[in-house]
């Protein structure tokens, strides 16, 4: 654990941020690879995983490629037609609700699996996610999570599966679970080349208003956000040139339409940084001022 003082202070600060910003619940988990220290604040509480579940799909895709089931530069037929994990009924994704509408232009044709993986994470594409998950299969992906010893991530279905949602079949995760998922990615579960590629994809995340927003500009973050009406999460590996990285999972739950949700996660990211490095994250402007 973090030294008691630091741990207690971080605990208190995160609780204060949650209260001040009207979070209904938070779950935070942290592993500092520089010191080996761990921190968990309600790390075993289950949340709707939202798009953080895409990291589990990413792991399954790369594991399948490692096992020779396909090659990452193979092409996959793009269809907007999926079957619900609820009653097996057909459903389609809405281009208007997807963060990467450009992928819909490829319907009917093929796209490389590596490009779909990139779109799933960097652009949080729902279409890419459901295509990849249907291709590797939910049961296979669950097996991969078990083999990677990831507890606390329940992958049950694709995204935007409203019938399954109505039946209570959802993807869920705990902060501890998502932390162990990122640890598996950073560890030796994947072959070295696959691991490098997975981290490269996570580093190219386009949505950077949460964990990265609480960090100094020289930090780089391999991460995935997740947002639905009530959930706002970010999980990632934080790289700082002066030290070993740390892994953080910040999960939050709010009443629908609560404002300032991302800012709350960013503030929690900042609090974690401050606790670990015992210093305030400096912005570019601060650095410029200091350097004249």
């Amino acid at each position: 654990m973090l030294s008691a003082d630091v741990s207690n202070r971080l605990h208190e600060e995160l609780e204060t941020l949650a209260l001040r910003n009207k979070a209904r619940a938070i779950g935070v988990a942290l592993h500092d690879l520089e010191t080996g220290l761990r921190f968990s604040l309600r790390g075993d509480r289950w949340f709707h995983a939202a798009s953080t579940i895409k990291v589990a799909v990413l792991l399954a895709v790369f594991r399948a490629a490692d096992e020779g089931r396909f090659r990452l530069d193979d092409s996959l037929h793009v269809r907007n037609r999926f079957f619900s994990a609820g009653d097996g009924s057909l459903f389609r994704l809405s281009q208007d609700r997807d963060a990467t509408p450009e992928l819909y232009a490829a319907i009917g044709r093929t796209v490389k699996i590596s490009a779909l993986a990139q779109a799933m994470i960097c652009g949080s594409s729902n279409l890419a996610t459901n295509l990849l998950l249907a291709f590797v299969d939910v049961e296979y992906a669950r097996t991969v999570l078990r083999e990677a010893r990831v507890d606390g991530v329940e992958l049950r279905r694709g995204v935007e599966d409203h019938d399954a949602h109505d039946r209570g079949i959802n993807n869920e995760a705990t902060a501890d679970g998502l932390l162990s998922l990122l640890s598996a990615i950073r560890g030796d579960f994947l072959m070295p080349e696959a691991k490098r590629e997975v981290i490269r994809i996570l580093l190219e995340q386009r949505f950077n208003s949460m964990i990265p927003a609480g960090l100094p500009p020289h930090a780089t973050v391999a991460h995935k956000t997740g947002e639905i009406s009530t959930a706002c999460h970010d999980v990632g590996i934080i790289y700082l040139p002066e030290r070993e990285p740390y892994i953080a999972a910040i999960l939050t739950e709010f009443d629908p339409d609560t404002e300032g949700r991302r800012e709350t996660v960013a503030a929690m990211s900042k609090a974690i940084y401050r606790s670990l490095l015992q210093t305030e994250p400096k912005s570019n402007e601060d650095s410029l001022s200091a350097g004249g």
Partner: protein
């Protein structure tokens, strides 16, 4: 555009690894107990460039009728030559008639033309393994993804002749929900220079 057509080959004379996947002339039993023989004669395609250059009909190249994804057997997916049943000519001719009726470009989906008997979707039980079937996912600017559009173009296809079979809209077995499936049955074509002896 190419002026000469690829050579036809007897599948029974191909190397063993190709024969194992293409199963030329083999019998295959359908789910309803009917038995059909798989295609024996194929066009040999040397490269994707060649497939794009070969125009089977005024508006259809060979490439669009042989595009598959990674569910195809590795040998048939990633290296050339590729082999496509000679019946693909008949299919292209029908698609040209269909295009003339709808007066708009007709788009065939990936995995929607010829698939080998080793393809993971349907395998040898799929009529796509005969090279006589096409999945049309788009006509002009219309994506065929609802009962109305699929019904409309299904009616056009059916009107082209009694040999044409078109699956109805729906999510059950034998129905389609994101394309119009048309096929010409279990036709096989023997080019006149080829012999069926042996």
């Amino acid at each position: 555009m190419r002026t000469h057509f690829p050579r036809a080959v007897d599948g029974l004379r191909l190397a063993q690894d190709y024969r194992a996947l293409l199963r030329p002339g083999d019998s295959e039993a359908g789910d309803n107990g009917t038995v059909h023989r798989l295609p024996r004669f194929f066009y040999e395609i040397g490269s994707w460039e060649e497939a794009h250059e070969i125009r089977l009909a005024p508006h259809f190249t060979l490439a669009e009728l042989m595009l598959v994804d990674c569910r195809e057997a590795r040998l048939l997916l990633s290296q050339f030559p590729h082999y496509v049943p000679c019946t693909i000519l008949l299919l292209a001719r029908f698609l040209e008639d269909f295009r003339r009726e709808v007066e708009a470009p007709v788009f065939i989906s990936a995995n929607g033309g010829y698939r080998s008997p080793a393809h993971q979707i349907g395998g040898a039980k799929s009529i796509h393994a005969w090279g006589t079937a096409a999945n049309i996912y788009r006509v002009g600017d219309t994506f065929l993804s609802d009962a109305r559009s699929i019904g409309k173009y299904r009616a056009v296809a059916v009107s082209l002749g009694p040999a044409i079979f078109v699956r109805p809209f729906g999510c059950e077995e034998g129905q389609t929900s994101d394309h119009v499936h048309i096929d010409l049955g279990y036709a096989r074509l023997t080019p006149r220079e080829c012999s069926e002896a042996s």
